[in-house]
């Protein structure tokens, strides 16, 4: 009996120790390789830019076969946490760092990499896209003040549309998300009651509505529930062919959400972008458009998505000059050539003014005090 049990135990132990020794020897082998070594650039954060960054990773690997970009879509909050704990080389977030967050991660650079729009979608049998909304009306719908589709305020701005005498089923996100942050920022700007009672945030204390999980969840709920209204990232509305509402901007126009109207919005905001290493806490396209009566053609619920990197890369553990150089080169490529992949995936390419701004920011990145881009 004893031999039957003892021998397998010994064998298992031998295999385990042997495997550990073997692993140890291979990892030494890799680190002894020269400058031609493979480099993994690890990032994590917002899910919104994930498809774009994933595309970048694949395309960049074709140009630089030794460079592997790994980006995990774990959410903006998780991205900021990992950036603060210095466990990733770059992080993605839909909202800039708050002053408190910036204090925990000093010398962080903000790099806007793409632009997204949040659009109202609805399920009204027989009514195509183009139903008009104002921010005030959207806020009152989401506050539960406007409960019928044929409310006088909706019919007044939608002449000729036969709005049904049906209750509005409000759909919103149940999970915390950057989409909700942008949406509630917009509602806070246009409605004092929203600002005081609900506020802006990745998740808020919703006065009403059904919660769907993720953009997919909201899309599915709206598609299946007649007389519902929801909000999603533009890409989801487009991919699923959902009717989008037109939203009135401060200039008084009802603007169709399109890649062009998002880009317009970003251009107006880009005039006042802070330096890459300054505080970006107040940067918000939504806010900058809130009272900009001259921003013609700009869709008001638009936002940047950012990558965060440290200005001095030697604060990261395991960082060396090779990796630092590869990281900066990849970021440079992403804000230039990488933008060509945006439109096919329904992302908004950065306007030239923002690209120039990013160039300045990227030139600030150093390793051990030496500038990486000349």
């Amino acid at each position: 009996m004893k031999g039957k049990i003892a021998i397998p135990l010994v064998i298992v132990a031998v295999i385990a120790i042997g495997a550990a020794a073997y692993r140890g020897s291979t990892s030494e082998h890799i680190s002894e390789q020269g400058p031609e070594q493979e480099i993994s650039l690890n990032g994590a954060g917002a899910t919104f830019p994930f498809p774009l960054i994933d595309k970048w990773a694949a395309e960049y690997n074709k140009i630089k076969p030794k460079i592997f970009v790994n980006y995990q879509g774990i959410g903006s909050g998780g991205g900021i946490r990992q950036h603060t704990e210095k466990t990733v080389y770059f992080a993605g977030t839909d909202a800039p760092l708050t002053p408190a967050q910036a204090e925990n991660a000093p010398n962080t650079l903000h790099i806007p990499i793409t632009i997204g729009g949040v659009v109202p979608i609805y399920n009204l049998p027989g009514i195509p896209k183009g139903l008009r909304f104002t921010g005030e009306i959207l806020a009152d719908i989401y506050l539960g003040r406007i409960t019928k589709w044929n409310d006088a305020r909706l019919t007044a701005i939608n002449p000729g549309v036969n709005l049904p005498d049906q209750s509005i089923v409000v759909v919103r996100r149940s999970d915390g998300s950057g989409t909700t942050f942008i949406w509630t920022s917009f509602l806070s700007n246009v409605s004092q009651e929203w600002k005081n009672n609900v506020g802006r945030g990745t998740s808020v204390n919703w006065p009403t509505g059904l919660g769907g999980k993720g953009n997919d969840g909201v899309t599915a709920l709206v598609q299946q529930t007649p007389y519902s209204i929801g909000y999603v990232e533009f890409t989801f509305a487009k991919k699923n062919n959902l009717p989008c509402g037109y939203v009135r901007n401060a200039a008084g126009e009802f603007v169709e959400p399109t890649i062009e109207s998002f880009a317009k919005a970003a251009e107006y905001a880009a005039v006042i972008l802070p330096r890459g290493d300054a505080s970006w806490a107040d940067v918000s396209i939504v806010d900058s458009l809130a009272n900009n009566t001259r921003a013609r053609g700009a869709y008001p619920i638009t936002s940047f998505s950012y990558l965060l990197v440290y200005k001095e890369l030697n604060v990261l553990p395991n960082m060396n000059e090779n990796i630092a150089g590869a990281l900066v080169n990849f970021l440079w490529w992403a804000v230039h050539d990488g933008q060509n992949y945006a439109e096919n995936l329904y992302y908004v390419p950065l306007p030239p003014s923002v690209v120039r701004h990013n160039e300045e920011t990227l030139r600030m990145i150093t390793f051990n005090g030496r500038q990486l881009l000349k």
């Binding site: 049990i5 959410g75 089923v169 990745t202 998740s203 059904l210 919660g211 969840g217």
Partner: protein, 331 residues
């Protein structure tokens, strides 16, 4: 490749040394006993670490809100930053109760059919399919809930329920499709495999002498089945509690169909609600400040506590019934 032989010789020497001690010879049995004991005691370590981590993570929230967290009815991460979990606790318990009300009779029926009524070959096929249900990932149940069950219930079931029982408040109000009842139904489907499989095993293990005695007394099949269930009733309670445990902790499927509306009490069975595990899954990733994260971990701590209480209650019931049946047997 020097290490493996060295390791081998180390074990070899160790064994030689052990063999050399004639009195304290370590037998294979003892080694096995030791290893098993280590594995068994690791459960204390795991549970202890879990509680420690949960308490540590939720400490900020415990200090800030204290007991108000349990009885609080407000969840406002954006403005006042006040967190209270009562609606979540109620939502979890009520949806789980609905799941039991729907799922337990069905499971009982399946188990009895398999152990008492069906021919063995057919029964094997059925139990195989039921167990397959248990292997379906919960997110699949959620997707199926969204795309198949919800439209079906909204269009073909709930309107009839409402027109028949609409005078009752629990069947009144607007019908969205998703909601408390839909959540309960999905949970019921998810607990049926577990509960019915345990019950079937229990009923199969009832000694045939019980059945033979009943038949000898002229009992019908139905009366015999009742005896079988009552013979195994402590185990049946255990099976139900197992199902409750699964329902309480279920996350993905429920969050996809319940509507995730934070409110103390829904206006009807068709209204949306929220559960503890669902809010953790929904909000933890984007929880942007410490108190928020801490409050979500606090919800996890409460959930763990409730699961423990449910299980302890179940044990007490099982012990009680066992004592009673033994008493009857003695008489």
């Amino acid at each position: 490749m020097q290490n493996p032989p060295r390791a081998f010789s180390f074990f070899h020497n160790l064994k030689a040394k052990i063999v050399a001690l004639p009195r304290m010879r370590l037998k294979g049995d003892d080694v096995f006993k030791l290893v098993c004991a280590l594995f068994a005691s690791s459960i204390f370590l795991i549970l202890g670490l879990m509680v420690y981590e949960l308490v540590r993570g939720s400490w900020l929230s415990i200090r800030t809100f204290g007991l108000n967290f349990i009885v609080g009815t407000k969840w406002d991460p954006a403005i006042s930053r006040v967190f209270g979990a009562l609606p979540l606790i109620l939502g979890t318990l009520v949806t789980s109760a609905i799941a039991l009300v729907i799922g337990v009779p069905i499971s009982l029926g399946i188990a009895l059919a398999l152990s008492e009524y069906m021919p063995k070959k057919f029964g094997f096929g059925v139990s195989f399919l039921v167990e397959l249900l248990a292997a379906v990932p919960s997110v699949i149940y959620g997707l199926w809930g969204i795309f198949v069950l919800i439209p079906f219930l909204r269009n073909h079931v709930y309107p009839h329920l409402q027109s028949a029982f609409g005078f009752l408040p629990i069947f009144s109000g607007p019908i969205y499709g998703g909601g408390v009842l839909t959540g309960g139904i999905v949970l019921a489907i998810m607990i049926i495999p577990t509960v019915s499989a345990v019950m079937r095993d229990l009923f199969s293990s009832v000694p045939n002498s019980q059945r033979e005695a009943m038949i000898a007394l002229g009992a019908t099949k139905w009366e015999t089945s009742k005896t079988v269930v009552s013979y195994a009733r402590s185990g049946v309670v255990g099976a139900i509690i197992l199902g409750l445990g699964r329902a309480v902790g279920e996350t993905m499927a429920i969050t996809m169909v319940i509507g995730n509306k934070f409110q103390v009490w829904p206006s009807s069975l068709f209204d949306a609600w929220y559960t503890m595990s669902a809010i953790i899954a929904n909000e933890l990733l984007e929880a942007t400040y410490d108190l928020y994260v801490s409050a979500l971990i606090h919800v996890g701590l409460v959930l763990l506590f409730i699961s423990l209480v449910i299980n302890i209650l179940a044990r007490l019931i099982v012990w009680r019934t066992l004592r009673l049946t033994r008493g009857i047997a003695r008489e």
